[in-house]
C-alpha cells in the first residue's frame, strides 16, 4: 500500500437529532499481506442517511460486509445501540436489526413475495405453514413501503425495482433498524428512484438509519444527510452535510497518491491497427462506441463497474454478439462470430476473470499455455508432451512465471496465474492485445511485472487495450484513456486532459 498523506477526519458531533445507534471503531481487515480496510472509525445516528462513497476497491463492500456479519474484522470493534456488537454470521446481524441490501438480488424467483420475505422462518400454526398469517404480515410491510402488489405474486414476475423492495421488506419484518443499501439505484429508472427515495424518507422518519452506497454522485445531495468517503481502505473524508459540490466529492474520492512506478512508453506510431466504429451490443450493454488504437499504442478503458467496459472488449474479441457497428483490423472489416474469428484476425483477449475464463485450474501450466496454440507448437498434426513442455518453458521464461510446465495452474499465485493467461494470448502472435482488469486481485509488487509486460507488448508494435478499475493504473499505463459510463463512450482523454479528476467526472456522469 502507498503511504497516505494525512487527511483531517472531522468527527461529526453537530446537527442531527437522535443518539448514536452504530459506532465503528478502528476496524481493519487484512487478507494475508493485503490490507483492504485500515483503521476505519465512524458513527451513525438514529434516523440518519449516510452516503458512503469511494472508487471501486476503496473498501466500501468490505466495510458493509463487516457490519452485516459476512466478514469478521481483523482488528477493531463495533457498538450497536450501546452494546458491543460482534456478528459472526449475517443472521446474527439481521437478528440484531442490521440488514444489507445487495446490488444483486438474492431472492428465490419461483417463490412468492411473502415466502421470500419469510424464508427460513415461515410462520406456522400447529406444525403447518400459516399462509394467512404470512400473507397478512407480508402485506403489512409492503403497505409500509407504499407498494401495491399482492404478497402471493411470484418474485420472478416482479421488476428489478420491486424485487429490491421485497428485499427491503424482508429486512423490515426482522425489525431492521439499520439498512445498508449497496448501489440501490444502479438498475433503476428515474421514477423508480424517486419512489425508493420516498420510501427511504418514510423509514427514516420511523427512526431507521441507512448507509447509502452509490456511484451516482448527483443523488447524494437529494437523499443523504452526511457523506463519508473511503479510499484505499481508509476513511479519508467526512462531510457534515450532503450539500457538497460534486467536484469536492470527486476530489476526496480520487485524492492524491504517491506515484506508482509505471514503465516508460515510447510514443505510439500513427499507423492505426484497430478501428472500432459505432459498435453496439446485442444485449444492450454498450451503445455506439468508436475508437482507434495504433500500433505501439496503449489505450486504457476506465469506468465504474457496470459501465459496459468488459462487454465492449468481449464483443471485440468475438466472445459476445454485437448488434451493429464494425471492427476493422489492418483495413479489413471483421465478421466476429466467435473468439476463434477474432484470434484469426490477430485479436487476443486476456479475460476479466482468470479463474473462470482464463485458466483450466486443474490442468498443468504447460497445457494451459498450449491451449489454442497447437499450430504454433508444431507444424505437424501430432504433438508430444515434450514439445508442449518445451513450448511452455519458453513462455514461462519469457514472462518470468514462477513455476514449471508440469505444475498445476491452481498452485500458483494470482500474479503468476495472470502471466500464464497473458503468455497463452501472446503466444498466438496477435497484433492487438486486450487485457481486462489485468491486475485485479494481484498484490502491488506483482503488478509492476504485469505493467512491464504490457509496455513490452506496445514496444513490439502491438496495439494494446487495457480495461481497469484502478484509475492510477489506467492513467499511468496508457497513451490515452477511453472513459465509459452507462454503456457509452464519454470521451477519449490524452495528454494533459487525462487527469484523475477528468476521468472520474466522466465515469460518474
Amino acid at each position: 500500500m502507498p503511504m497516505q498523506p494525512d487527511h483531517t477526519i472531522e468527527n461529526t458531533t453537530s446537527g442531527q437529532t437522535g443518539e448514536t445507534i452504530l459506532s465503528v471503531r478502528n476496524v481493519s481487515k487484512t487478507y494475508g499481506k493485503i490490507t483492504v480496510l485500515k483503521n476505519v472509525s465512524f458513527d451513525i445516528k438514529r434516523g440518519e442517511v449516510v452516503a458512503l462513497l469511494g472508487e471501486n476497491g476503496a473498501g466500501k463492500s468490505t466495510l458493509s460486509s463487516i457490519i452485516a456479519g459476512l466478514v469478521t474484522p481483523s482488528e477493531g470493534s463495533m457498538q450497536w445501540q450501546g452494546q458491543p456488537y460482534t456478528p459472526a454470521t449475517p443472521s446474527d446481524a439481521l437478528n440484531a436489526g442490521l440488514g444489507l441490501i445487495h446490488q444483486e438480488m438474492r431472492l428465490l424467483p419461483e417463490l412468492s413475495i411473502a415466502e421470500n420475505i419469510f424464508v427460513g422462518r415461515l410462520p406456522t400454526r400447529s406444525g403447518r405453514i400459516d399462509n394467512l398469517e404470512m400473507y397478512r404480515r407480508a402485506d403489512e410491510q409492503l403497505k409500509r413501503l407504499g407498494l401495491n402488489v399482492s404478497p402471493a405474486t411470484k418474485v420472478k414476475y416482479l421488476r428489478v425495482a420491486a424485487q429490491q423492495q421485497v428485499e427491503i421488506a424482508k429486512a423490515l419484518t426482522l425489525n431492521a433498524r439499520f439498512l445498508i443499501l449497496d448501489e440501490p439505484t444502479a438498475a433503476l429508472g428515474g421514477e423508480e428512484t424517486d419512489k425508493l427515495f420516498e420510501q427511504i424518507e418514510r423509514l427514516k422518519n420511523e427512526g431507521v438509519s441507512f448507509i447509502y452506497i452509490s456511484h451516482r454522485l448527483e443523488e447524494i445531495a437529494r437523499i443523504a444527510d452526511r457523506v463519508i468517503v473511503m479510499r484505499d481502505g481508509e476513511l479519508v473524508a467526512n462531510f457534515d452535510s450532503a450539500k457538497v459540490p460534486v467536484s469536492n466529492l470527486v476530489e476526496a474520492m480520487v485524492g492524491r497518491q504517491l506515484d506508482r512506478i509505471f514503465p516508460h512508453l515510447p510514443a505510439p506510431t500513427h499507423k492505426p491497427l484497430i478501428e472500432v466504429k459505432n459498435l453496439s451490443s446485442a444485449e444492450g450493454d454498450f451503445h455506439d462506441v468508436s475508437f482507434t488504437v495504433s500500433a505501439g499504442e496503449v489505450m486504457g478503458i476506465a469506468g465504474i463497474v457496470g459501465a459496459g467496459r468488459t462487454e465492449l472488449v468481449r464483443a471485440i474479441a468475438g466472445a459476445d454478439p454485437v448488434k451493429s457497428g464494425s471492427v476493422t483490423v489492418d483495413g479489413q472489416v471483421l465478421t466476429l462470430k466467435s473468439p476463434a474469428d477474432a484470434m484469426a484476425a490477430g485479436i487476443a483477449l486476456v479475460p476479466e476473470d482468470r479463474k473462470l475464463q482464463g485458466l483450466v485450474l486443474d490442468h498443468t501450466i504447460g497445457n494451459n499455455i498450449a491451449l489454442g496454440n497447437y499450430p504454433r507448437i508444431t507444424p505437424r498434426s501430432w504433438v508430444t508432451p515434450t514439445e508442449i513442455r518445451n513450448f511452455a518453458t519458453t513462455a514461462i521464461k519469457r514472462f518470468g512465471i514462477k513455476g514449471s510446465a508440469d505444475q498445476r495452474a491452481n498452485e500458483l499465485s494470482g500474479g503468476n496465474q495472470q502471466k500464464i493467461v497473458i503468455a497463452r494470448a501472446i503466444s498466438s502472435g496477435p497484433k492487438i492485445v486486450i487485457l481486462d482488469e489485468p491486475t485485479r486481485g494481484i498484490d502491488v509488487g506483482a503488478r509492476s511485472a504485469i505493467y512491464d509486460v504490457i509496455a513490452e507488448l506496445a514496444k513490439q508494435g502491438m496495439a494494446v487495450i487495457v480495461v481497469s478499475s484502478d484509475l492510477d493504473e489506467v492513467l499511468g499505463l496508457s497513451h490515452k484513456v477511453l472513459v465509459m459510463a452507462r454503456g457509452r463512450n464519454q470521451g477519449i482523454l490524452s495528454g494533459t486532459e487525462a487527469t484523475r479528476h477528468a476521468v472520474m467526472e466522466r465515469a460518474t456522469a
Binding site: 473468439p339 484469426a344 491451449l371 489454442g372 497447437y374 501430432w382 504433438v383 505444475q407 503468476n416
Partner: protein, 326 residues
C-alpha cells in the same frame, strides 16, 4: 507463494512416478482382483479364460471408448445402450427385410448410431439441453424405435461369415471383434494424447468458457464427440449381433450404466477434463474380470450386482481421496 511453488515438484528419481501415482488405484485393483480369482478358482488363470474375458468385454469396451470422450468433455451419454439396440435392429431390417447386402447393412447400422449421437449433440449445443436430459430423451426415443422396427420381435440368422467375426479366433488368438476393440482403443488413446484435437477435449471439459475464449469451437467439438459415441454404439451393435447371431430390440438394456461405471472406475471425472483411454480399459476389465470370476465361483447374479456397486463406490472413493492428497 513463489518459494512454496518451487518446492512442489519433488525429485524422486523415479521417472515414471507420476504414471504409477495416476494409475495405481484402478490398475492395482485389477491386479488384486486377478490374484484373488486365481487363488479361489482353478479355471480363472488360463489363456482360454483370458480370451473369454476379452470376448465378454468387447461390447462394453467399444461403448466405453466413446463414453470416455463424452465424459472428458464434461458430458454424459445415457443413450448408448438404446442406440446400440436401434442400430442393431436397423442393420437386421436392412439385411433381412430390405435385402441389402450385409456389408452395406453394417454401414447403415453404424451410421444410425452416429446420427443418433449427432442428435444428442445438437440438442446439447443448439437447444442448450443439459447432456443428461438430451441423452435421456434420445435413449427413450431410440429404444422405442428399436422395438417399432419389428414390433418387438428379434431377427435371427446371419450368414456364417458374420457370426464368425465374433467366434473364430484368428491364428488361434483374437476374434475380429476383439481385435477391433483393441485397435480402436489404441487409436483413441493416441488421439487423446498426441493430437491437438484430442487434447482440446480436456480443455473443453475442464472449463468450456476458457476453451472457447482460447479459440476452440466448443459446439462443433461437442457434436463430433456425441456423434462418435453414437457411431461406436453402432459398431458395438455389430459386434454384439455377431456374437448373438441375431438382432434383439432389448439388447443393451442398462449398458449405459455399466459403461459409465467402467469409465469412472478408470479414473475419469464426471465433472470433465480428466480421464484416459488406458484408465477406461482397466475399468472395463475390472467389471469384466469381476463378472467372469464371480461366475466361475458360482456367485449368483444378484450378489454380483451388489459387488459391482461396491467396487464402483470404492474405486471412486480412492480416486477422489488420492486426488485431494496430490
Amino acid at each position: 507463494m513463489s518459494e512454496i511453488t518451487e518446492q512442489v515438484t519433488p525429485k524422486t528419481g523415479f521417472i515414471n512416478m507420476s504414471f504409477v501415482k495416476k494409475m495405481s488405484g484402478p490398475l492395482v485393483g485389477l491386479i488384486l482382483l486377478c490374484v484373488f480369482f486365481s487363488l479361489t478358482s482353478e479355471f480363472f488363470l488360463s489363456a482360454r479364460n483370458g480370451l473369454n474375458i476379452l470376448d465378454q468385454v468387447t461390447v462394453l469396451g467399444i461403448l466405453a471408448i466413446g463414453m470416455t470422450l463424452v465424459i472428458v468433455i464434461g458430458g454424459i451419454d445415457l443413450s448408448v445402450g438404446s442406440v446400440l439396440a436401434f442400430s442393431m435392429m436397423m442393420m437386421g431390417v436392412m439385411q433381412r427385410q430390405m435385402g441389402l447386402p450385409l456389408e452395406l447393412a453394417i454401414v447403415v447400422g453404424i451410421a444410425t448410431g452416429a446420427i443418433c449421437g449427432l442428435v444428442s449433440g445438437l440438442l446439447i449445443t443448439i437447444a442448450k439441453l443439459p447432456p443428461f436430459i438430451a441423452t435421456l430423451a434420445v435413449m427413450s426415443v431410440t429404444r422405442g424405435l428399436a422395438n417399432i422396427l419389428t414390433e418387438g420381435k428379434q431377427i435371427v440368422g446371419y450368414p456364417d461369415w458374420f457370426t464368425s467375426l465374433a467366434t473364430v479366433r484368428q491364428f488361434g488368438f483374437l476374434s475380429m471383434t476383439v481385435a477391433t476393440f483393441i485397435v480402436l482403443a489404441i487409436i483413441a488413446a493416441i488421439i487423446l494424447k498426441y493430437r491437438p484435437a484430442g487434447r482440446n477435449l480436456f480443455a473443453i471439459g475442464g472449463n468450456p468458457e476458457v476453451a472457447r475464449l482460447a479459440g476452440i469451437n466448443v459446439n462443433l467439438n461437442t457434436c463430433v464427440v456425441y456423434a462418435l459415441s453414437g457411431a461406436l454404439a453402432g459398431l458395438a451393435a455389430v459386434a454384439f449381433a455377431a456374437r448373438l447371431d441375431s438382432s434383439q430390440p432389448s439388447a443393451g438394456l442398462g449398458y449405459e450404466l455399466d459403461t459409465i461405471a467402467a469409465v469412472v472406475i478408470g479414473g475419469a471425472s464426471l465433472s470433465g477434463g480428466v480421464g484416459s483411454i488406458f484408465g477406461t480399459v482397466v475399468g472395463v476389465f475390472i467389471i469384466g474380470v469381476l463378472r467372469n470370476g464371480l461366475n466361475l465361483l458360482g456367485v449368483s447374479p444378484f450378489i454380483q450386482q451388489v459387488l459391482i456397486g461396491v467396487v464402483i463406490a470404492a474405486a471412486v472413493t480412492f480416486d477422489t481421496l488420492g486426488r485431494k492428497r496430490r
